[in-house]
């Protein structure tokens, strides 16, 4: 077996010079608050480390997260898979099947103990002893727990893994359960959305690899960089909301002029996601741009918040900034209250040097 390709090899192959690489290490070390000497330690680590193994498992889901992932335009998913990570197990694209596939799980656990990322798409059902989702003859939840034990961190892809999504909508007949309710004692990065935006998915992965740490998370466990603003905040139709110009019904004059979709049920004011900034499919569009309101697919329990065509709340007066924020704040307050219980479990950990050490809670990172 030839030598493993390191992160350094990869970036050299992509045309980055030795000089740039050294500079990158110095800047990164400084920006992370590391002391003198850290840059060379980081350079050493990046030059000797193998590509980060990723194990991608599927519970109850529809595969939309994987489908979204392969649409990534920057970076191209081809480059992610061939150069950045080592996607050693992914039921959707792996060549092996059956016991040859299952064997990879055990090998990864043993060889990369504490060093692999466990990416989970979908969620485990707990009813019927977990046998609503069978993997290798056993309940999926067992396999999930087993692989989580030795993972470095867990990425909960999509709303299924993050908060349950459609199969967990009322009455949740299978008792489909979010990943953080069955895995404990591991950093869990929630990347909600049905599915998440492709470039957000590859952005989260490449962030971890590039900056050698996990992203800062909000109180719900979502990366702040992509989920800290409402779709409404950066919506290009926002001026129409502020001006009180609304689509009253489908395909009316307001719809053709691109007025605000609030009255047809748009959930942009209460949905935290990057749709209005990153947009979809290489920046081509996002739901509101195509004329349909946001259905709030990255929010917990969005299936059970009434019809997608119901208005958020009856606000009597439109047209001023304060009301837009009020709508957002009210809804955010409700969400905030619901998640207080597991906010305390949200931790940020460094990946490399002191992975086990909890640095801070609530996404506050302490420089050292």
């Amino acid at each position: 077996m030839a030598t493993a390709e390191t992160f350094y090899d990869v970036i050299r192959r992509q045309g980055i010079t030795r000089r740039s690489f050294t500079k990158f290490c110095s800047l990164t070390a400084a920006s992370l608050g590391f002391g003198p000497g850290a840059a060379s330690a980081m350079a050493e680590a990046l030059q000797t480390r193998e590509r980060v193994p990723v194990i991608w498992m599927h519970g109850l889901e529809c595969t939309c997260c994987s489908e979204s992932f392969i649409r990534s335009a920057h970076p191209l998913v081809k480059d992610v898979v061939l150069s950045m990570i080592s996607l050693d197990y992914d039921e959707m694209i792996m060549a092996a099947a059956g016991h040859q596939a299952e064997a990879i799980l055990g090998e990864t656990r043993a060889k990369y103990k504490g060093k692999y990322i466990l990416a989970v798409e979908g969620n485990p059902p707990l009813n019927e002893n977990g046998m609503y989702c069978i993997a290798g003859g056993r309940p999926f939840v067992e396999k999930l727990r087993w692989m989580a034990e030795d993972a470095m961190a867990v990425i909960a892809w999509g709303t299924c893994a993050a908060s349950g999504c459609v199969q967990a909508a009322k009455p949740n007949p299978t008792r489909a359960t979010p990943v953080d309710k069955v895995i404990h004692g591991k950093p869990i990065i929630k990347v909600p959305g049905c599915p998440p935006i492709a470039e957000v998915m590859t952005g989260v992965l490449t962030f971890i690899i590039t900056f050698d740490k996990l992203p800062e998370l909000d109180r719900q466990g979502r990366p702040k960089m992509f989920y800290s603003q409402r779709v409404h905040d950066k919506c290009y139709r926002r001026p129409h909301f502020d001006a009180g110009q609304f689509v009253e019904e489908w395909d009316d004059e307001g719809a053709r002029k691109g007025y605000c979709l609030y009255k047809t049920g748009c959930k942009g004011p209460t949905t935290y996601n990057a749709c209005s900034t990153v947009r979809w499919n290489g920046g081509v569009s996002f739901p509101i741009q195509s004329g349909h309101g946001c259905i709030g697919c990255s929010e917990e329990g969005f299936w059970d918040q009434g019809s997608f065509y119901d208005r958020l709340t009856n606000v009597e007066q439109f047209g001023i900034e304060a009301n837009a924020d009020k709508i957002g704040l009210t809804a955010a307050g409700v969400v905030g209250g619901a998640i207080t219980a597991h906010a305390a479990a949200t931790v940020i950990k460094r990946v490399t040097t002191k992975r086990e050490k909890t640095e801070a809670q609530h996404g506050q990172e302490t420089p050292r």
Binding site: E61, I70, I85, N127, R175, V284, Q289
Partner: protein, 596 residues
Amino acid sequence: MTIDTPTGDTLENSGKRIVVDPVTRIEGHMRIEVNVDENNIIRNAVSTGTMWRGIEVILKNRDPRDAWAFTERICGVCTGTHALTSVRAVENALGITIPENANSIRNLMQLALLVHDHVVHFYHLHALDWVDVISSLSADPKATSALAQSVSDWPLSSPGYFKDVQARLRKFIESGQPGPFKNGYWGNASYKLPPEANLMVLTHYLEALDFQKEIVKIHSIFGGKNPHPNWLVGGVPCPINVDGTGGVGAINMERLNMVASVIDQLIEFNDKVYIRDIMAIGAFYKDWLYGGGLSGKNVLAYGDVPEHANDYSEANLKLPRGAIINGNLAEVHPVDHADPEQIQEFVTHSWYRYPDETKGLHPWDGVTEPHYELGPNAKGSKTNIEQLDENAKYSWIKAPRWRGHAMEVGPLARWVLGYAQNKAEFKEPVDKVLKDLGLPLSALFSTFGRTAARALESTWAGHQMRYFQNKLIASVRTGDSYTANVDKWKPETWPRMVKGVGFTEAPRGALAHWIKIKEGRIDNYQCVVPTTWNGSPRDPAGNIGAFEAALLDMPMSDPAQPLEILRTIHSFDPCLACSTHIMSPDGQERTRVQIR
């Protein structure tokens, strides 16, 4: 023990039992068990859907206008086809008509999905069953270039190009971290391509990975995103404004040009890469024509792609409709979704309970009560299945039947029906493929036939897209920019109790949703999906499903490496998340929720 099935197959469950679980490169979760005889020929096959999500019970009491979003999440791969089926079901129930422009846009979205799904399926979920990755490393890039240029004028074909791709693949595979290629069945005797052909198709695997993301831009334009674009009961959510104030918030000239550009690209990719790869592979696998199963006997299609809006009659549909029984291509039977005698689901071998399990139920009157148990001859325990007992219940998939017959659905079924109906646009391409490969018509009914039909359909769909794009523009040119009918948008305008059915041809085959609406809410919702037909377990009469039938009598070169099983099962493009569902028709919650 030997069992004869009604369709003339013989099942022999002595011999060595081989288990493949998980079956990978599919959507969802699946298990296959087969018995092989002393010559490693498969004599018994058992296919099991190993997941159940309960979408239909979740739909109960919800707003029918929302149903598209729930059902769309049945599948993120064929994303949108369930949504289309759903809005059609609701419109059928409520008597809502849609504008012509909406019909053209829906067709564009459905056809884009078809092309995307087929391209991704072939290259990323199926190609490695035909293509040996390791063999490609020993290819001569010059010879690969000569091969590529002999089959197509696709520009990416120079020796230097293939040399670079090969170098990148070599570095990747030899890195010690071969990622998705790890533990593949490389070197298996069932791989027939020479190294040069392997390198050519693998190169296209990478190109297709880059290219497929372009196809779905059509969904983002009309539906805002992909996967899971937005749909609308009564039309489409995107308004058209090509010549007025504020046109940047609507479908305008720039958007239409982008759609046209994507269509041009996909037609070129289909014509110069996809179909050529299929023909190149076919040339090397002419002697491996296994896996026909039910395709030469019983096939079913519902038809799709209406020429004009609101007309779902067979004559108005561009994809064929009908049923063929016992291989009699001379007689195509009409299909009626509302006829309780035609489509029925059975649960004798499924993990559900019926009041009378010898009888099937039409979807409007179905019952689903989950009931997980293993048969007396299963090995292992309820939470550690070592071997299933196919004489008892063994799958989360129900067994749908058309007039009692197990049916194959999908691209091959559609193309066989088009062929049988003497439709030139289906018959001529099939005859050409067979002639070019020097194969008889019977060769169509095989694993390869299924794979080839999908490529032919992708090509067909690309040209249909250009047709509907032109049709949309011609309509807008006349001043018609109408895209949504809101006359019956409000539930107050609906009858107290109605029922409807919507159907499509999903990439994987015939798909229909049956809905009952009572006082503005969903009273009952039932989906019978392509993989429920193809992946169905046995029924009380002993009929086996299409997956199981296709595996019978197929030789394995090495039972420790289930390459041929994957090849044949993948040729159906299984979608297990779709195939497992539940309903509760009488307003009662039938699911037993265990409290722990």
